[in-house]
């Protein structure tokens, strides 16, 4: 189960990076801002999940 969650978390980070790259290609402008935040939020969620998984592996979190 932990492995599946880890794969999903890594996939979330990868999706975030793809969104950042595709929208970032438009340049830093008002139109790209929501997409950039979306990509950043996806990466943040993925990293949050990975940190929880790592803590679960080290036994500090259920």
């Amino acid at each position: 189960m932990l492995a599946v969650r880890a794969v999903l978390a890594v996939a979330m980070v990868a999706c975030g990076l793809i969104v950042l790259l595709r929208v970032g290609a438009l340049g830093l402008r008002v139109e790209s801002l929501p997409g950039l935040v979306l990509g950043a939020a996806m990466i943040a969620l993925g990293v949050h999940r990975i940190s929880l998984i790592l803590r679960a592996r080290s036994g500090t979190v259920r």
Partner: protein, 539 residues
């Protein structure tokens, strides 16, 4: 479930249960909000969601900190009562109650809208009476189930939430991979940028996609070791909801479907142009988007209306359950008459609260549906309310109630940080300024101030752009306050000031009840040290 004796809720909710509890409530909001925002903010819908989303993240962090520090079911009303006193606690609770009653009607209404995608006989514009009766039937059915004491299980919530997260992830992945064109997004935004008025309207409607954070505190009441579990599940919930809202709005503006979309005259239009002046489409936006996604869309066309309807029904039910629970908590705090604490002799449920607030929900439904049921009323609504649709009326009040209660929650967060610095906070919002208040070290939350400015501006937008909301919302608060003052005077309680309470004793009880014994010891030690310092300073 409240009982006649001292009620105790069983703490059996797991971390996933805590997440799915919140998700089944807040996750349904995008099903309602997407169409309304696309209709109002057009090419700037994603910007409206971004602004509301940033404010929502601040609100979510505030709820997470407060729910982990004070894990009681009263939610926003309890935090405001404790941080700002009885009068403001009543206003916040009364605004939350308005939101819960709207929640019942709005989500039952859109549940029928989503089902109309598969059953055209339920379409509101073509068969207004069928739509009205179906919505009324859902509200009465949910109220009856709650009076009897039947609730959906947390396992059912978990399954529906998991299915929805998987479904929405698939829709968005396929959509962004095969149908999203960044250059079309830019074109939509540049060619259809709304007026400032429409942008404010869209932003005030976007906040309804993020309402339901009361569920975090309700879950905290029933979660073992909430101070540890709530922060991590809440952060995942906040980010998930934010991602879905931003992703849907970006996708809707940059969607290049396989088959061209045309208007009634056969002219090609973009996807988001399906929504302005079309109440039927506004109520089922996610289903319309899902069916236009390449590959996945042919499957999504069948299951998304059903999944959406189930999620919306759960959310509507949380309105019935939540309103009775908030009324019970307010009654216990002497903010509402004790009648709202009474439980049914046979079913042991707060039947009076359920019937009372279910009745308010039915009145709201009648007001919302009246123009479509009675053509003469359309003239009246057009004259006084700029011809708002039933769905817009409900959304108006929903946004007003949420913005009001969240504004007070931010003030309560600041107040509690300054005047209750001894309560242990296992999760603390970052970016604070250390200060000293009354000899104690406290931390002033910058995010709390920014969040308050954000939500207060949304409240101003709501009052400015919603013709019904700016009348009905404040009227609800004023009527409630009049009732509150009469009740407090009748009971011989302080009318404008607060009833004396021993918060220290209550905090110890709360932490003990939550199983947070280490935090309880930490709190008791901090209180003793503080008392000792005061005595030494006096000496």
């Amino acid at each position: 479930m409240p009982a006649t004796s001292k009620p105790e809720l069983r703490r059996s909710v797991t971390p996933w249960g805590s997440f799915s509890w919140g998700y089944s409530d807040v996750g349904a909001d995008i099903f309602v909000g997407l169409g309304l925002v696309l209709a109002a903010a057009a090419g700037a819908s994603n910007v409206a969601f971004l602004f509301a989303g940033i404010v929502y993240v601040c609100i979510g962090l505030a709820y997470t900190e407060l729910a982990a520090t004070y894990p009681v079911a009263g939610g926003g009303q309890y935090f405001v009562l404790r941080g700002l006193g009885d009068v403001f606690g009543f206003i916040a609770g009364w605004a939350v109650l308005l939101d819960f009653t709207i929640d019942i009607t709005l989500f039952a209404w859109t549940c029928v809208d989503y089902l109309s995608q598969l059953l055209p006989v339920l379409t509101g514009s073509a068969h207004p009476w069928v739509h009205f009766l179906a919505t009324l039937g859902l509200i009465l059915g949910l109220a009856t189930l709650n009076v009897i004491g039947v609730r959906e299980s947390s396992a059912f919530n978990g399954v529906v939430s998991a299915l929805d997260v998987i479904s929405e992830t698939c829709i968005l992945c396929f959509g962004f991979l095969f149908a999203f064109r960044p250059e079309l997004l830019v074109h939509s935004m540049q060619a259809s940028w709304p007026s400032p008025y429409q942008l404010m309207l869209g932003t005030s409607l976007a906040i309804i996609s993020f309402v339901g954070l009361e569920s975090i505190s309700q879950a905290a009441q029933e979660t073992q070791r909430p101070a540890s579990v709530i922060p991590r599940t809440s952060i995942a919930l906040i980010l998930t909801i934010l991602i879905f809202a931003l992703a849907y709005s970006n996708l809707a503006l940059g969607l290049a479907p396989q088959h061209p979309i045309t208007d009634a005259a056969g002219h090609p239009i973009q996807f988001w142009q399906l929504f302005p002046n079309n109440g039927d489409n506004q109520g089922k936006a996610v289903a319309l988007l899902a069916e236009r996604i390449p590959i996945w869309g042919s499957l999504a066309a069948f299951y998304v209306p059903i999944l959406g309807a189930v999620l919306l029904l759960i959310s509507s039910n949380s309105g019935v359950f939540g309103s009775s629970r908030i009324a019970y908590a307010m009654s216990k705090s002497n903010l509402l008459p004790s009648i709202f604490q009474r439980v049914h002799a046979k079913f042991r449920t707060p039947a009076i609260s359920i019937v009372a607030f279910g009745g308010v929900a039915v009145l709201e439904l009648i007001f919302a549906a009246f123009p479509s049921l009675h053509p003469d009323a359309t003239i009246l609504y057009a004259r006084f309310f700029r011809n708002e649709s039933g769905l817009e009326f409900l959304a108006d009040l929903y946004a007003f109630g949420a913005a009001t209660s969240y504004s007070f929650v931010f003030l309560a967060l600041i107040g509690l940080r300054l005047f209750d610095p001894l309560s242990p906070r296992k999760f603390k919002i970052p970016f604070n300024i250390p200060i000293r208040v009354g000899g104690e070290r406290a931390e002033f939350p910058i995010v709390g101030v920014l969040g308050f400015i954000g939500i207060f501006s949304i409240l101003i937008f709501t009052l400015f752009t919603h013709p019904i909301g700016r009348i009905a919302g404040p009227s609800w608060l004023i009527l409630g306050l009049i009732g509150y003052f009469i009740y407090r005077r009748h009971r011989g309680l302080p009318v404008f000031t607060s009833h004396k309470r021993d918060w220290r004793k209550e905090q110890v009880e709360i932490l003990r009840g939550a199983g947070e014994l280490e935090l309880m010891d930490e709190y008791v030690a901090a209180v003793k040290a503080s008392d000792r310092r005061r005595l030494e300073a006096k000496a």
